[in-house]
Symmetry: C2
Subunit: 525 residues, 2 copies
């Protein structure tokens, strides 16, 4: 392994005298590499480059932008085993998971390349002139989406590849024509550096302007704050804790020029198990598989599970508890995550009426996280808002409800979450239509007879939801619709053909879908 | 005229003991009507109704929603001359202008009805399942936009019909399926009441749920604050001053659950007159017509005008000054606007290097506003940020620049505006391509050989722009794209056909445009 520990600022590598290191969470051993601890001057340098080269990047032909995204994917693959090994060492995540995550990372870069090449994402609209309209002539008016501006992306600890340096936020911002400055997550600086170099290499190979990408490393809050406050930065994307995301949102709203913050801050992902499904062992085992997947370190981890009280519910709980007891203790991402997990379990079990039905609340290992299943009743849940808050790790709380009405009452009382899940028959789903109506307002994605973990990267995905799950329920952080986050409309009135952007000229060589005089089509005007 | 002075809360009319009145700005006479001065309890009542009926409204068939919008337009027309007379009396705006504005108001309601009926605005996306995909099956995932929630709309003083009670914000929010609570502008409470009753009547005729619309009147800041802070409110739309809009934005960002604020806060709308156009009398007269239109009380009023210094510029200035001197003094909307206008002129003329070339700075009439033309040079403009701030009224500042490079330097130095305008030949426009590149980042709409006043309501319009022109450059407040402001995505995973929303079922009877497995089309799946 050859880690320089530098920031990657455009085509340069910049070192600071202040450095930090990182430990292997499985062994506690300090890993190779002294990583520069960035500050405001590193942010300044990256922001200057991003601003300088923004116009050059956003005005490149779309196929060159697409080539760049695909080349990033190739360069990541070219890192080979070295990337997986370093990421395993930094995160404790198993190889198979990281192989899958790498596939997702390169897959989403390629999917965004397709979206960029296809071109309809710019939402081109043309209203042709009617010079003799009475009482006033109608002007020729044309609209398209252009790139929002240099974008700050914060790497997430739990997706060291798919939501870090070249993750979904970076891919969607670059696809939208925005230069990206990543603040690497301090728990995996080695993986960040390797991926950052892959992007840098792709930028050089594709003759991109230097400022298209920078990576600033650091383990202080200040470097991230400097990034969000920088006047050249026009949008922020973040995946992490509520505290972190909300702090960035507040900072951005208080800027002289407020900017959008797309913070995905986690969720407890309520699961509703309707009567027929409570009888199914496969649902109990599926639930336990989902809640323990990746040592529970997913934003979509199913943390609260509702069902109608009674013998069937008790049996379901026992079956789930038995499955859980077979699950191994896992290595969590870092010591901070583990202590937060145990503190979260303490808070849950500190509530009178909550009992542990499987799992130990503590482990000795510095980064080990035990799967835990807890149980309570609806009254206790309704009285204690704390029980709805995310406990990041492999635990779920089963909640026995008295009636369908009480289930609906609880659903209505929920705050915003990323997902909600319903298990049952089609007939039960129709019977519980009101539950769907309630959940549409509470979450970004509703899953039937499945589990919330495992987020498909596709055109129809929504990974988002009402506050406090995110700071902007109008957008998604996974899937191709994420490109919309980094765009804004510009209208051209009465422009001659030669001065119009390509997508708005009469001639539609690229056959992009456009709205012309109110009609959707691919024809030229 | 029969004005009750009440709020319109759903189907009820509610009175307060505290009231306010309004004067005719042209005569100074207090007009008929004692208007209830709303408070938190009125907001509470309206918000409870809106929340109670939100699901019923958003889940109505789209053609019923469209019928409602069209019926509002009919009910407004049915108010006949009484509406125009009262609005004239309250605003000082001439009849022809208000007839035109009424046409725009009913026209945009009907245009949104078309958009709703057509149905593609929900951006339906379907990714079909691939059960045997390796290593993991691909689930069936479907996405659509749903209504964001009860929306607060603030009436604007300068568009008593088109951007007030049944204006663009109300039309787009209702079109998106969101109940609306309007805070009426205190300068035209009579017009607000009449239009509010038209909406109430349309809601009854169309069997809408009661909470779909309320109008709260009031002349205190507190009632608007209570509305923005109410937990049931999920979005805010505002047109007005920077101070007012920014205060609402800050309030909404500081809520326990932050919500989007779409505040259109005005602009100085830079105009660039390239050398060939400086020679044209028609450009000088067109500029003066645009800046004095509606006594300059438009967000798109051309407030700063740039050209290359020299004889041609001086001659252009003189010609424009002569045209301006022929323009009559006009009645402004209310005494507050007039005093703000004169204070703004004082601030401009207080800058050393700014000279008045036509018009008087003061008038005796309580609400009269004089057309004024001022002149300075680029150095003075660059040194005094104050000169870029909006002066709401019929004035413009002509700015003599030394070179093309200085024009580009000035363009780069600009903050966000709603529009920018370029006058010249096609060849000059190509020569000034860099100016377009710069302006794309500064404004929401670029006009060639036209004037910024007169905003076409169509699919391709963008009335918005970077901060401080608005608080959200990603959206427009005029035109059909405004419907996107009040929507958010929800994803349905693995849902049986019978439980899916109509637009996401395999069968596409309504022939709405959808993205199915990455392909745009109208076919069924």
């Amino acid at each position: 392994m050859n880690l320089s520990g530098t920031h990657i600022i455009g085509f340069e590598e910049i070192k600071n005298s202040s450095t930090f290191t990182v430990r292997n969470p499985a062994t506690g051993v300090v890993l190779e590499g002294e990583f520069s601890n960035g500050g405001a001057e590193d942010v300044e340098r990256a922001a200057q480059l991003a601003e300088r080269d923004f116009d050059a990047y956003r005005n490149m032909p779309l196929n060159k932008r697409a080539d760049f995204l695909e080349t990033i994917a190739e360069e990541i693959l070219a890192l080979g085993e070295a990337l997986l090994e370093r990421t395993m060492a930094e995160t404790g995540l198993p190889q198979a998971r990281l192989q899958g995550e790498r596939g997702r990372t390169t897959g989403q870069l390629k999917l965004f390349a397709q979206v960029v090449r296809e071109g309809s994402f710019i939402d081109a609209r043309i209203d042709t002139a009617i010079p003799d309209r009475q009482p006033l002539p109608k002007p020729d008016v044309r609209l398209m989406q252009i790139s929002l501006g240099p974008t700050a992306v914060f790497g997430a600890s739990n997706f060291p590849l798919a939501f870090s340096v070249a993750g979904g936020d970076t891919a969607s911002a670059l696809a939208a024509g925005c230069p990206v400055i990543v603040k690497g997550h301090p728990a995996h600086p080695g993986a960040s550096e390797l991926v950052g170099r892959a992007i840098q290499s792709a930028a050089k190979k594709c003759n991109m302007p230097e400022g298209v990408f920078s990576l600033v490393q650091g383990n202080s809050i200040e470097v991230g704050q400097a990034l969000v406050k920088h006047p050249f930065i026009k949008a922020v994307a973040f995946t992490g804790s509520f505290r972190g995301g909300k702090a960035l949102f507040d900072l951005a709203a208080a800027r002289p020029e407020p900017i959008p913050v797309y913070a995905e801050m986690g969720s407890t992902n309520p699961v509703f198990i309707l009567p027929s499904a409570l009888k199914k062992e496969s649902v109990a085992s599926g639930l336990v598989d989902s809640l323990t997947l990746g040592v529970g370190q997913f934003c979509t981890n199913p943390g609260i599970v509702f069902g109608l009280q009674g013998e069937t519910f008790d049996k379901f709980s026992n079956v789930a508890a038995d499955f859980l007891k077979q699950k191994p203790v896992g290595t969590m991402l870092h010591a901070g995550i583990k202590s937060a997990y145990e503190a979260g379990l303490d808070a849950l079990t500190g509530v009178t009426g909550v009992e542990v039905i499987a799992g130990d609340l503590k482990t000795d290992g510095a980064c080990l996280g035990n799967p835990v299943l807890l149980k309570t009743n609806a009254q206790t849940f309704l009285k204690n808002a704390r029980l709805e808050e995310e406990v990041f790790g492999p635990s779920s709380l089963l909640i026995a409800c008295e009636s369908k009405e009480q289930i609906l009452e609880i659903a209505k009382s929920l705050t915003g979450h990323l997902t909600a899940t319903i298990h049952g028959t089609k007939e039960e789903l129709v019977e519980y239509q009101e539950l769907i109506t309630i959940l549409e307002r509470k979450v970004g994605r509703i899953i039937f007879n499945g589990f919330p973990t495992g987020v498909e990267v596709c055109h129809s995905m929504n990974h988002g939801g009402p506050f406090p799950a995110t700071t902007d329920s109008r957008t998604t952080s996974v899937g191709t619709a994420a490109i919309k986050r980094f765009l804004r409309p510009v209208c051209y009135q009465n422009f001659p053909q030669e001065a119009l952007p390509k997508a708005l000229k009469n001639e539609n060589d690229a056959k992009i879908w456009r709205l012309v005089d109110g009609n959707i089509g691919q024809a030229s005007v």
